[in-house]
């Protein structure tokens, strides 16, 4: 099992994330991605450069087909760029094997999806434990840490509920807890409010803001809603595979 760097339990959750404020988490250089659909080549990304520093909260925006999902998949080590380099915490990850990618997804990236993607018929706490199943934690330690992050998202009282016994907002909190449990360098949230009503969306976005500000967690959020993007400090807008604007709140 990959278990090279177990953060100890006693370390505060934000220890690693807040450590050196401003260090580069993501650097992308001249990234291209071309899909072949039959005979037609689709240029999803046409030369992207992004640098995201530690503790930034970035919203990636754009219409469907703008390339924002493609960049998410590449950032999440789920898809390879056609050309260009992707450095995650200084490491060029575009050349790694799929097992090494699995390791990086496990230790450095936390995913939050639009559809929550929790395991059915599996309790909240066990869903949160899932990433730790793949890095050799003992079951006691897993349970302990799952509790900690469930508490952080305010769901410790519902830890033994099954996903279908939880509201959409609560399910998304479980998913956020799951993304946090291995103390990743980066959280990738793909339309996390897409399936939620406005009130719950606000709660979830406030939770992200909290995690970003209090815990110093780096968050990259994909959304097509400007209202949601406003919660981030920085908005990057994609169109036709290119970045057309990159602005910060003041």
């Amino acid at each position: 099992m990959a278990s090279d760097e177990h953060p100890s339990l006693s370390a505060p959750l934000d220890g690693r994330m807040n450590g050196d404020h401003g260090a580069e988490v993501i650097r992308i250089c001249d990234l291209h991605k071309t899909y072949k659909m039959g005979d037609i080549e689709v240029q999803a990304l046409r030369g992207i450069n992004i640098t995201i520093r530690r503790s930034e909260f970035v919203a990636v925006m754009g219409a469907s087909g703008s390339g924002k999902s493609t960049i998410m998949n590449i950032l999440g080590c789920l898809d390879r760029p056609t050309t260009g380099a992707y450095f995650l915490e200084g490491q060029d990850v575009s050349a790694l094997s799929s097992d090494e990618w699995a390791h990086i997804r496990n230790r450095k990236i936390g995913f939050v999806f639009q559809g929550f993607n929790l395991l059915n018929r599996t309790s909240a706490v066990e869903n949160v434990e899932l990433p730790m199943m793949y890095n050799g934690f003992h079951s006691k330690e897993r349970r302990q840490r799952a509790w900690e992050v469930l508490k952080l998202v305010g769901l410790e009282e519902r830890s033994h509920h099954l996903p279908n016994q939880l509201s959409g907002g609560q399910q998304q909190r479980v998913a956020i807890a799951r993304s946090l449990v291995n103390r990743p360098s980066l959280i990738l949230a793909d339309e996390p409010t897409g399936n939620l009503d406005t009130k719950t969306s606000v709660e979830i976005m406030e939770l992200f803001q909290d995690l970003n500000m209090k815990e110093g967690i780096t968050i990259v959020l994909v959304t097509h809603e400007p209202d949601i993007a406003r919660y981030a400090q920085r908005q990057i807008v994609f169109r036709d595979g290119l970045i057309i604007s990159d602005t910060r709140n003041h």
Binding site: L78, D99, F111, F113, N120, P131, M133, Y134
Partner: protein
């Protein structure tokens, strides 16, 4: 990791109890059939072996060699080289020999009162009864004292008893052989016909010493019948008897044996081999159902992989490697196959006992068959779980996460 995969598998199987059970049923029937069929085959084999043993696979018959007189060869037993002390020496000096008895026989007219009957009269030692496993129905067999005293006592076979005495009790009666009166001391149990149709119950037995001195007036014996301690040691007994007799008969190297030794072990081997073939045939027919069970597992695992595509995507997104996914599904298949195997073993044992009592067929369950069936069931799980697991492990996480 393996333990965790095991837990995940148990949970996944528990979610679809009926489906898991029906899938397992293929293996249960397969393993159960293998165990029951092999038990029947082995039982039949054992019965055949016992029947052959009752014919006397551990028996050896020593006959004098042939002799050539003026160009004409006598048949086997033509020479007069075997003596009673050879039989005693074989008994005394060869440990794998359970018993040896001299045999001298001659057909005689036996008279009892106003009845008479022509029958083979056979001179034997007390060991003869044990060697041929011949029951005494009434009275007693020839004793060592009878041998030493050249006692005029006789046992009569069932056929003789019927023909000379009808319904009267022959014990204590007197029969005459060559005008010599013999007291009947026992009636032999029924032995039926021999392999070549001879009525084995048409016989009179007397001490061999009495037979040699008083009836036939000879100093040699016609054969020695020997029982080895078991069928396996027959050949060893054969070799040792040969060298002992050569030594006793003072035969120099290069001189032919003046005796012949015959045994039935070749027949026993052939019969036992054919029983083994039958056991294997039954076993391999049953194995086909195990194969079908395995295909059932593969089928259900493929369905399961498709159904759980999204779960696989989630697991991959949070850091499961291909081999973790692979392990999970293989373990699931193996758990299904192995638990089917365990239940199948119980079913197999139960049904072979049922067959034993209801159909009155002999069955024999050997522990190694149980162990092998269990291992084969597990191997079926690995083999038929491999392809679905590989399919799961090769899924693209992006597609898997998007799968509805």
């Amino acid at each position: 990791m393996l333990f965790m995969a095991f837990r995940i598998a148990l949970r996944a199987l528990a979610r679809n109890k009926l489906r898991s059970f029906l899938t397992m049923l293929g293996i249960i029937i397969g393993v159960g059939a293998v165990i029951a069929m092999v038990a029947i085959g082995e039982g039949a084999k054992k019965r055949v072996q016992e029947q052959i043993a009752s014919l006397g696979t551990n028996l050896l018959v020593i006959l004098p060699g042939t002799v050539t007189l003026g160009g004409a060869r006598t048949g086997s037993g033509g020479r007069q080289t075997l003596v009673a002390s050879d039989a005693r020496a074989i008994m005394r000096e060869i440990p794998v020999v359970a018993g040896a008895s001299p045999v001298v026989r001659q057909v005689q007219q036996v008279i009892a009162g106003d009845q008479n009957w022509s029958t083979p009269v056979q001179g034997v030692a007390p060991e003869f009864q044990q060697i041929r496993e011949w029951q005494v129905q009434e009275g007693r067999f020839i004793s060592q004292a009878d041998i030493e005293n050249t006692a005029k006592v006789a046992l009569i076979g069932q056929t003789v008893a019927y023909n000379l005495f009808g319904d009267n009790d022959p014990i204590g009666a007197v029969i005459r052989i060559k005008k010599i009166p013999f007291h009947v001391i026992g009636i032999l149990g029924a032995k039926g016909q021999s392999g070549n149709g001879t009525d084995q119950d048409d016989v009179v037995m007397v001490p061999y010493t009495t037979m040699m001195k008083l009836v036939m007036g000879v100093t040699y014996i016609q054969q020695i019948i020997v029982a080895a301690v078991s069928a396996d040691t027959t050949q060893e007994a054969n070799n040792q008897i040969a060298s002992l007799l050569r030594q006793r008969h003072k035969l120099r190297a290069g001189v032919d044996d003046d005796f012949m030794i015959r045994n039935l072990s070749d027949i026993a081997e052939a019969a036992s081999n054919s029983a083994t073939v039958m056991a294997m045939l039954l076993g391999s027919i049953a194995s086909v159902s195990l194969l079908v069970g395995g295909i059932g597992i593969m089928n259900i695992m493929l369905v399961s992989v498709t159904e759980r595509t999204r779960e696989i995507g989630i697991r991959m997104a949070v850091g499961a490697r291909s081999r973790d996914i692979m392990l999970q599904f293989i373990v699931e298949a193996v758990v299904m196959a192995a638990s089917g195997g365990v239940i199948g073993i119980l079913v197999g044992i139960g049904s072979s006992n049922l067959i034993k009592y209801l159909a009155e067929l002999p069955t024999l369950i050997r522990p190694e068959i149980i162990a092998i069936s269990f291992l084969v069931a597990g191997a079926v799980g690995v083999f038929f779980g491999f392809y679905p697991a590989k399919k799961a492990a090769n899924l693209d996480p992006i597609d898997a996460l998007r799968y509805e």
